[in-house]
């Protein structure tokens, strides 16, 4: 098991290096750089261009592309993630600041959607063809058909501004130290973020459950006189669970991606919000690290999925 994990992780390295090179190259091809973004356009007309050029040089932006890439990648490989160009903040600090927020949001959404999605999907499968099933299917479809930022805006309008039940946004306020203090802030973004995924999980759980229920061992279990709940849950759901977990695992990085928009809507101080502003201000080192981090998240998630599958389904052997 451990050697398997180690090997999988090792194969990630060339992949990550190639990807980082491609991103670096891509950003290199775009006009402008972080320095030009430090100046508001309204003020640009009267700035001293020579001074800015000096700043470029001092930030190392004047060096040839490959040299910069080399400096950057060797730094990263030694654990030095570099500094954000705009404010000189160590990227590791930005990550430490933002990552918990994004993880908190993603995991909350993941939990909501997993629990809700698998329960609803199972209900839907068990009542196949009924009105419940059909309504759940349509509602689920509706869930994946409404732009999530739009959902978020309407939710803010209703729950924060009209009903005043929940805060409009943000993650915390001064003095809100415990998780429970902050919980009201988390509710809306997590719910909205989880909508799409709940619908996805539900749909998937339904078909996975239907598939499991159509299998022979379900008939065997019934033929043994097992009660329905045991047939459905212990035999059906347990088997249906594997593909659902696989789906959820693959969704985790998607969630990190999906939170980009939700973080904007709800002023959630996470990685996604940081990424958008880094992209806008061409803060290469930061863009690179966020992109790489998300790639790593995808790759590691797929590894975790493999491990989880192996734990859940005894038939699966990890490839040697």
């Amino acid at each position: 098991m451990l050697t398997y994990i180690a090997r999988r992780l090792l194969t990630l390295i060339p992949m990550v290096i190639v990807i980082s090179f491609l991103i670096y190259l891509g950003l290199e091809l775009t006009p402008g750089d972080a320095v030009s973004h430090m100046i508001p356009p309204d003020a640009y007309g009267s700035m001293d261009e020579d001074r800015l050029q000096e700043l470029r040089e001092s930030l190392g932006l004047g060096k040839p592309f490959l040299v910069r890439y080399w400096i950057w990648i060797s730094g990263v490989l030694q654990g030095d993630f570099g500094y954000s160009l705009a404010g000189g903040v160590p990227i590791s600090k930005i990550f430490l600041d933002r990552l918990p927020a994004t993880l908190e949001l993603s995991i909350a959404a993941l939990l909501i959607s997993t629990v809700l999605g698998s329960i609803l999907g199972t209900i839907s499968a068990l009542t196949r063809g009924s009105l419940t099933d059909q309504s759940l299917t349509v509602v689920g479809m509706l869930g994946v058909s409404i732009p999530e930022f739009f959902f978020g805006l309407v939710a803010i309008l209703i729950f924060a501004l009209n009903l005043e039940w929940l805060p409009v946004g943000g993650r915390t306020l001064p003095g809100y130290d415990s998780f429970w203090d902050r919980l009201p802030h988390l509710v809306m973004p997590a719910m909205v973020l989880s909508i799409m995924m709940t619908a996805g999980v539900m749909r998937y759980a339904r078909s996975s459950m239907l598939d499991a229920l159509s299998r022979d061992f379900i008939r065997t279990a019934r033929s043994k006189g097992m009660p329905e709940w045991r047939v459905n849950i212990l035999h059906g759901f347990r088997v249906a669970l594997t593909p659902v977990i696989v789906l959820i695992g693959f969704r985790l990085p998607v969630l990190i991606g999906g939170s980009v928009i939700i973080e904007q809507v709800f002023q959630w101080p996470g990685i996604g919000k940081e990424f958008v502003s880094a992209v806008r201000s061409q803060d290469y080192p930061l863009v690179m690290m966020v992109a790489l981090f998300s790639v790593l998240a995808v790759l590691v998630a797929s590894l975790i999925v493999d491990l989880l599958t192996a734990i859940i389904d005894p038939r699966v052997r990890l490839g040697d």
Partner: protein, 539 residues
């Protein structure tokens, strides 16, 4: 206030222009023909746009500066007149075969809507126009100057730029008309000496005469088409009481006496006020955007103090100050017992170091940077021949600054200039001063000190007990990271999470005005939105 400005403008335009326009193209570009530019001016119904689209939150512009005292008699208001526009186009031989490429750099919806309206109005007189948002390196795309200052070809790749000039000194509006500085206008010989003259005097009368003459020439030829004056809107919830403190240009530092403000206690009996402008990743050097952010407003004091219109009115950190030698020497004495927020004394050495660092920092505000670059020894410092400026000398609490070149804005500069504690910047290259970790939680000199800074979440400020102007009455200021023109500002305000702040975004104004707990006050600021019409042929 809004009305007042408008009527004064109308009074002036009542007189007819006495023409002296060379009514023909001066190079291959049709846009170098003043009649075409005038036609554009006539084609745009700015009055109606200001009233409807901007819902009154814009004042149609007459000159580049918004101060009617700078206008000569007989300014042409180019009131909406599509027939006149068509006539001028016909005269100029405009055949409609050219589609103008309009660019802009504000990503908001209102700007896009404004562009759509302008497109329709230009189309109405026979000028086809498409518009696009500039991306990437905006600065480079709008500031390139042609090698040949008459025939071009132009370096910038567009026909019209919609942008703005936000200035604290009137000279900023005109300085680019100096020889070979303007990306869009072939050098206008008549303007070159005028630009020089307004920069070389501290005499307001001389400056005004220069501004009037320049405004007249630009207005007549539509070298730049001023569209409207942006106002700034201060909003304030009914919890806040300014206790008589004035309102002014919130983008810059002015005396708004925050020490004496009070706020209604919250449920816990604490005097907590919310505002916006907290940092997202780091606190910005207060030398760039001089008064926008929460820290530059509350945590840093400037040498001098300005009123709401940014006219210097006295000392802030300085006890006394003086301009002597016909403006070539500026000297001031710091108050006694000034302290940084960490309790260490603010010294004249801190000030000298700050002046020298600001002169070298790449992103210092242009007006400040121009003033500092005219100090004796600035060039030697810039070229690396000297470690400091020979023109800045200190004696106890007194700082004396000698200028090599006369600067008209010395007092203005020092009313906006906040010194930093040099102890934290040892070994820092001034070029990378913004990259210093100091900016994660700066130590300032103002009435409030930063208590907690959680980037992208909030910043809290508490009164500085050793403040030279007394201890502030509000017990805590909580700043959220929303900003001017950010949709979140309105959401926070609606959710009672913004007790005071400002916006320049016309879309925000009606929203804020509709909130029962909110009062919105428009403030006239020097901020003109305009079209730069590219009069060089495109390469």
């Amino acid at each position: 206030m809004n009305k007042l400005l408008r009527t004064s403008a109308i009074a002036i335009i009542a007189a007819q222009v006495a023409g002296g326009v060379s009514a023909q193209a001066i190079n291959e570009s049709e846009l170098s023909d003043p009649r075409v530019r005038q036609a554009i001016a006539y084609a745009i119904d700015m009055e109606t746009i200001a009233e409807t689209l901007f819902e009154g939150a814009a004042i149609p512009a007459l000159g580049l500066t918004s101060d009617a005292n700078n206008y000569p008699e007989g300014m042409n208001s180019y009131s909406y007149d599509p027939d006149k526009a068509r006539e001028l186009l016909a005269e100029a031989g405009w055949d409609g075969s050219r589609t103008l490429d309009m660019v802009y750099y504000y990503p908001d919806q209102l700007t896009a809507d404004f562009m759509a309206v302008v497109q329709a109005q230009l189309g109405d007189v026979g000028i086809d126009m498409t518009y696009r948002l500039l991306e990437g390196d905006v600065g480079a795309q709008i500031s390139g100057v042609p090698d040949d200052p008459v025939n071009g070809p132009s370096v910038v790749d567009w026909d019209i730029l919609y942008g703005a000039r936000a200035a604290i000194a009137n000279q900023e509006y005109f300085n680019r008309f100096a020889e070979g500085e303007m990306p869009t206008v072939p050098t206008v010989d008549a303007l070159v000496p005028l630009v020089e003259s307004v920069n070389a005097t501290v005499n307001p009368a001389v400056q005004r005469a220069g501004f009037q003459e320049m405004e007249g020439i630009i207005n007549e030829n539509v070298y730049i088409l001023p569209l409207y004056y942006q106002q700034l809107y201060i909003f304030e919830s009914d919890r806040i009481n300014r206790n008589g403190a004035p309102y002014g240009n919130e983008q810059y530092n002015y005396n708004f006496d925050v020490v004496n403000w009070t706020v209604e206690p919250n449920e816990d009996g604490e005097l907590v006020a919310y505002t916006n402008g907290a940092p997202m990743q780091f606190f910005e050097l207060p030398w760039q955007n001089l008064g926008i952010w929460v820290h530059s407003r509350y945590a840093f004091d400037t040498i001098l103090e300005a009123d709401g219109t940014l006219t210097p009115i006295g000392g802030e950190l300085a006890e006394t100050y003086e301009v002597i030698d016909d403006g070539m020497t500026f000297t001031f004495t710091l108050k006694d017992d000034l302290k940084w927020h960490d309790g260490t004394p603010i010294t004249a050495a801190d000030v000298k170091w700050s002046i020298e660092a600001a002169a070298q920092a790449p992103i210092t505000h242009p007006v400040v940077s121009t003033t500092l670059s005219r100090i004796e020894g600035a060039e030697a410092l810039a070229s690396g021949d000297a470690d400091g400026m020979s023109g800045v000398t200190i004696d106890g609490n007194t700082v004396t600054i000698k200028f090599a070149v006369l600067d008209p804005n010395v007092l203005l500069t020092f009313s906006q200039f906040a010194p930093l504690p040099m102890a934290y910047f040892e070994g820092t290259d001034p070029l990378q001063i913004q990259q210093n970790e100091f900016w994660q939680k700066p130590i300032g000199s103002g009435p409030f000190m930063i208590e907690e800074a959680r980037m992208n979440e909030f910043t809290t400020l508490v009164p500085f007990p050793d403040y030279h102007g007394g201890v502030a009455k509000i017990e805590q200021i909580i700043a959220l990271p929303s900003a001017d023109g950010d949709a979140n500002l309105i959401r926070n305000a609606a959710a009672f999470r913004a007790d005071f702040g400002y916006t320049k975004n016309a879309t925000d104004v009606p929203s804020l005005e509709e909130m029962e707990h909110m009062t919105v006050r428009p403030v006239n600021i020097p901020y003109t939105r305009m079209f730069w019409i590219n009069q060089f042929p495109r390469g």
